[in-house]
Symmetry: C2
DNA sequence: ATATCGTACAACCAAATGGTTGTAGATCAG
DNA sequence: CTGATCTACAACCATTTGGTTGTACGATAT
């Protein structure tokens, strides 16, 4: 049985979508660009060798992952970076870091039987 | 300049592997568990409903992404968390955060441009 | 020596991914 | 209005992914 998972807070599907969206170089490049400034979908498409439709799909993946937002302006769709998604990804990695440090702390505690170990 | 940063990496296969490895709830659970303590592959497999071979594949994906290491001990393979992979993922997200803050900075204040180069 | 355990790996399958082309609907310029 | 642009979306295709079962092999226990 699937056993209680060790700390997964946002829905697993959301997190899957988030990291999946980041697992592609083109999509990471898009995130970086639209985080630095605004682009229309066709403006983005012009940057890559692939078809417009392919870029459109990448943007859709990023939007579903909350890494970018789209806003209609005239006949264009303006794509912007969405801080929310980034923060979420970072929080998740921070949780793993915390687990790591807890383990490192346990090991240190075992090696040094005395607890001289408090936070400033 | 920022533009240089945006143009780097035609395709970073390592980063793809890293985020892809994190884009699965079972794999994230494995990472959390082996970061907290040691597990053999079969010890991990016992935690999930899927087959041993499926878990073995997940561990292999994590190993290729530098998120875990395996070490043979007797007839078992001990899986442990690998800090290196985590750190790399965090650094990549930090870069995006930096771009975000640079943009926020540009909006608030104009042209205090500062050249920053980063490691891959 | 033999059986069992833990692992590795191949072969196979369904579903998802990442790309293409093509069609159609809005919106803007002349 | 006509034509060009920007977008959305469907249909299709090749490859990858995530799972399965089955086989093989070294290490361990009886």
């Amino acid at each position: 049985m699937v056993v209680d998972q060790l700390r997964t807070r946002p829905s697993d599907a959301d997190t899957d979508r988030l990291f999946h969206a980041l697992a592609d170089a083109t999509r990471r490049d898009i995130v970086a660009r639209v985080t630095a400034g605004e682009y229309s979908v066709s403006g983005l498409a012009a940057l890559y060798t692939m078809s417009f439709a392919a870029v459109q799909k990448h943007v859709a993946v990023l939007e579903r992952a909350s890494l970018v937002t789209k806003e209609k302006r005239g006949r264009e769709q303006i794509v912007r970076g969405n801080h929310e998604g980034l923060q979420k990804a970072r929080r998740l990695l921070d949780q793993l870091e915390m687990i790591w440090r807890q383990r490192a702390g346990r090991i240190a505690d075992i090696l040094a039987e005395d607890d001289e170990r408090d936070l400033p």
